[in-house]
Amino acid sequence: MSEPQKKVDLAGARARLHQKSGREYWRSLEDLAAQPEFREMIEREFPRQAIGWSEDEDPVEGRRNFLKLMGASLALAGLSACTRQPTEFIMPYIRQPEELIPGKPLFFATATTLNGVANGVLAESHEGRPTKIEGNPEHPASLGACDAFGQASVLQLYDPDRMQTAGYEGEIRSWGEVLGAVRQMLEEQRTKNGAGLRILTETITSPTMADQLRRIQQAFPAMKWHQWEPAGPHSARAGATMAFGQPVNTYYDLTNAKAIVSLDSDFLASGTASLRYARQFSAGRRVRGSQPSMNRLYVVEPMPTPTGSKADHRLPLRAAEIELFAGALATAVGVGRGPQEGENHEIYKWIGAIARDLLNNKGASLVIAGECQPPSVHALAHAMNATLGNVGKTVFYTDPIEARQVDQLASLQNLVNDLDSGAVDMLLILGGNPVFNAPVDLGLRDRLQKAGMRIRLGLYEDETSEVCQWSLPEAHYLEAWGDARAFDGTVTLQQPLIQPLYEGRSAMEVLQMFTDQPELRGYDILREYWSSQRGGGRTGGQPVPATGQAAAPGRSVISPVSGPPGGAPTAPTGDFESWWRRSVHDGLVANSALPAKTPAVQGQNIRANAAEPHLGGKLEVIFRPDPTIYDGRFANNAWLQELPKPITKLTWDNAAFLSPATAHRLGVETGVVLQLTYRGRTLQAPAWVQPGHVNGAITLHLGYGRTRGGRAGNGMGFNPYGLRASNALWHDNGLEAKKTGATHAFATNLNNYIPEGRELDTRRHIIHHGAEVPPRTLTLYPEWKYEGYAWGMAIDLTACTGCSACVVACQAENNIAVVGKDQVRRGRAMHWIRVDDYYHGDVNNPEIFNQPLPCMQCEDAPCELVCPVQATNHSSEGLNDMVYNRCVGTRYCSNNCPYKVRRFNFYLFSDWETPSLKLLRNPDVTVRSRGVMEKCTYCVQRINAAKIESEKQNRKVRDGEIQTACQATCPTEAIVFGDLNDPNSLVSKMKAEKSNYALLADLNTRPRTTYLAQLRNPNPEIEG
């Protein structure tokens, strides 16, 4: 049965059932249900989620249907007041688990991975249910912050669309059958040394999995392990090899960097250590008391990114021109020789000034090359950093963190060749989604089917599992044990917080099936590996990082390509248990970062393209991972889909981003569908006119256009992978764009009709410099008195990068509903905090300002006095409390809110039906129903938890004890919350800053949330 998806023969199933009604009886319903046909029929007849979500329906329409359905269930919900509530019992534990007090969350250290690289997190568990992700303050990549992906990963865990059981060509199989089949196939392979066995993974940094793969390699010497990561740092690896003659891993320390040049690197908001970089960067930008100066950032990039929005000088260049820029800058800094002027003056206009700034800050400067830039740019950046004396100060090199560093593209091409030659009998695909995201010229969808037996482990039944006979459900990281390395090599441990919801297993457990070892649970695999490493008992083991107290920091060794065993320092075996407990508790192995090294730049290898790329009347096409759904892996994560993307504020979609001038040339505006032709392949994509985008190029964000992505992912956007060829992964010239007659309605909370000019400028003035604050006497109402606490917030706009992690954190913390694309289009997104973007100046290269906007919690709140039923009230601590069950939904409060931070449940937006999503809810926050207003509460549940705790200990709440969800996740510590009655609290100090201002202060609302105005540090040479 080579047909990937077996059509369910409903009639046949019925007929078969019908026949059974003769003499043959079934003993029980279970008996009958055990038949796959019957199960399938049941699934078809009674889908878990009623109408509207099935694949054959238009997803947009489907969502509407879904809403209709929710509406129908509402008709009953309205009646619920008249019906008797079902009896529910609260049952105490017979034996209460240790440390578990019902109602008090526990936190466990674990780690998310992106591109295989770990980011340490703390997962909040309520009675055994992980509900929220926070950063792990002890983890070097997190420093307590968390990104949007991490925040949203908890929704992925409970995603009802996840693959739930193992299957063979659409039929349900048990894991025992999987194991039997695998072992049988392996037996066949054993005879030919595994020559027909291939394993395709994403990037793997996990030492345990590396060890497993090594053992599989030992058992099947001819086996090949391929890796493919569509948005991996391919050229960074190649660039390092070009510069140093050896693969190295690069990371930065921005703490002391005074002049930073980003060559198309969005280091503040994407990449493996962006949280750390953002923290360091913003610390270097904070002008307060003791620190009078700030760092300076130059950004050259084609498409505005959060990093670009923080730039003191931002230069939009086409992706291919950045190489020229890097070459010229390198020459000016004193590395090599390249042209200092060319046809395009834009490229060179700031070179001298930037170079002088860099040279003035030797050892405190930094050049960062973007992961999407070609290897030569990376090599030039390495050379510049070396010349500027930054190595060891702001730039650090270590051995690669990957278990095996390979040229992934070559690796994938190699697999394709083997597939073509029919050499692949058995292909194991661990994670990833190569059918969807491999370069289009490789034609992986068709070629994969040349492999004899295809086994796929994945979270979802996606495009890849569609073409694999075996699809195995993967355990989510919150359900499984694991390990991975962080950006600097720190070994990070993953521990499960919950039993797998479905029959998922981790990649580690699946790999174990391929070894000659007995089947083991993930815990045992991990522990056994680390115990063998710690005990030093294993011979020929994979190089291990030195860990624990026994090893001196910085002495660990790791060789880049699964080379000979390193001299792993050993520790006394007896220590293992305490070491293990310590490491699992902390979520990382102490001192396991790879030691810094100083490879020498081999300048002769660096070859930059010095010729100016000519477009020849065509356009440059630029591919980038999507800011919220990345390479497509988060496409079914509704939180990330609905998260307005930084800068563009687009949701549920990608677009062909182009500059106003290019749009004018093509005669299009936002929403007009373009026909993109590139190398003979075409794609229909709606245009999006993006101020600050470079002229002559179109940026396409990868990850959209999923066909089997799940309910949230299917049918959203278009698929740029359809244009992406293996020899131009990130950008290329030669794109033709033609206007079609069609238009597309984007879902965005950014309105694109704001007239440029006068109004915007006056508004900007008010927003950013404050206005005349009216005297207190102008209000009729008496002053509020605050005896105890008076909560307040200050947001440092100089620090905020607009990364939008706070928006998802808030969504997770406060049970905020997802409304879907259609409702976002109708302006009904529910986020309690939003990040506003403002442009200032030249439309082709505007200054971009980010402004996170939670509820202002006004002292004289306009919302409070217009609510006819007193559903929104001033609390004794200064909050505007929203009483959901009192709200009748007049929406007057929202009309009267000048900041428009109130959100209304136009329908029953909260999902009260899906069982798995019920586990997701934060039990401390009410799940809102239809017809009520909601808004930011300053995380009042956290305030109250801290107050209860402090009252128990007979003390006041300490400053910093309460962290709102947005504050806790903020990588730049831009958001500060605390007690305004305490003059020594951080928030009071921030509000005492000169740059502190209240938004729309002239309205006399006296907001509790105030802003520290955004400061920039322009280079006087350029600005002057």
């Binding site: 809403l67 209709k68 929710m70 509406g71 129908a72 509402l74 008709a75 309205g78 007041a81 909370n749 950014l750 309105n751 009709y753 704001i754 109004e759 915007l760 508004r763 008010i766 409702q823 109708r826 302006g827 009904r828 939003r834 506003d836 973007d837 403002y838 402004q851 906007l853 306009p862 409070e864 006095l865 217009v866 609510c867 006819p868 039923v869 007193q870 009192r886 709200c887 009748v888 939904g889 007049t890 929406r891 007057y892 929202s894 009309n895 009267n896 000048p898 900041y899 428009k900 209304f904 449940n905 136009f906 329908y907 029953l908 239809r930 017809g931 009520v932 938004l999 729309l1000 309205l1003």
Partner: protein, 460 residues
Amino acid sequence: MPDNPNVVEQERLQDVIAPGYTFGTVTDQIAAVVLTRRTPLFWMACFGLGVALLLLFLWSVALILAKGVGVWGIRTPVMWGFAITNFVWWIGIGHAGTLISAILLLLNQKWRNSINRFAEAMTLFAVACAGMFPLLHLGRPWLFYWLFPYPNAMGVQPQFRSPLVWDVFAVSTYGTVSLLFWYVGLMPDLATLRDRARNPIVRYLYGVMAMGWRGSARHWSVHETASLLLAGLATPLVLSVHTVVSFDFTIAIVPGWHSTFFPPYFVAGAIYSGFAMVLALAIPLRAVYGLQGLITDRHLENSGKLMLATGEIVAYAYFMETFTAWYSGDVFEQAAFWHRMFGPYAITYWALITCNIILPQALWFKKIRSNPVTLFLISIIVLVGMWLERYVIIVTSLAQDFLTSSWDMFHATRWDWATYIGTIGLFMFLFFLFIRLLPMISIFEVRTLLPQAKVAGEKS
């Protein structure tokens, strides 16, 4: 002249009732519409349309109750859309009825006698339609009673600082007084119908409604006092209801709303639209039922003059509103008006100016004012214009307020239209039911217009 009022009366009465009428013919003609005449096709058509639209209304209401107000086009910055626009529009329409029945009664304007009954009915039904919207636009309409101060176990009372609570009082008072006034005025005529009805069931029903009216002098005396008292009560309501409705906007800090100027402006606008509605109803009715003798050209012209006068006040208001926005120096206020005039909703604004200011200037010409056809057309235009006025005030002000980031456009959905047109259906349904079942012109009051009534000479 003032010491001989009869002379004046005589002259004016020539205009407000055609010569040749007697007590009997007046009664005959009005009562016949209800009791004996065949129901005209016009009625059938209008009532049928009303029922059809009422069904549409009920359908939308069911949908709103079942799904939520999300079926409308309201969205984050524009949280009030058609619902509140319609509410203000309907309430405004009701005003003419109260003005005619109460204020003109107190001012002793006799010509009102032949139009006050259906104008009052119009008020009542308009208030009924208006009342639908604040109720339906709630997120949780079944909890509407929380807006009333009633003793409750929760110990929570409404927020008396909120104009919406004032609205509740204003509109419910208005509705109650209008109903009482209308019903008290109906009683003598119900008795007349009772006396004239042949069918015993009909007679019985009218009898019940007439509440035992026998036309005794004592009845008349009490009736007169009650009418005057109710008129006295209703008079301040003409001013207060729309003043309070305008507070919904003026109390808010939204640019384009926050103005002390709104109360008189709203009251004038209300009367403007109310008279337009009176004309839009009276002109076809008198043609169909041949009531030109009772609702004379003089009535139409007087209403036209009132429309013109209130229209000028409204025009002045538009001008002043714009002027103060500019003069205030407040950037937001200025921007709000700039957007109104030249922003994305400019078409509605200029349509409103055309309908409410430019075209009604034709009423200066007596020829147009006294021609029922042109008058009818202008009254329809004014009704549209006044609806647009509320739409412009509500939607454009909300769509673009302070922070550009939250600006967004309101687009009406078909359910917005369905609920709006549905209430027009409700209005037509009620109104034509009224036409069919109750005397649309006050019999006893018209009789006082007859010369015969003046024989005694003492009255007035």
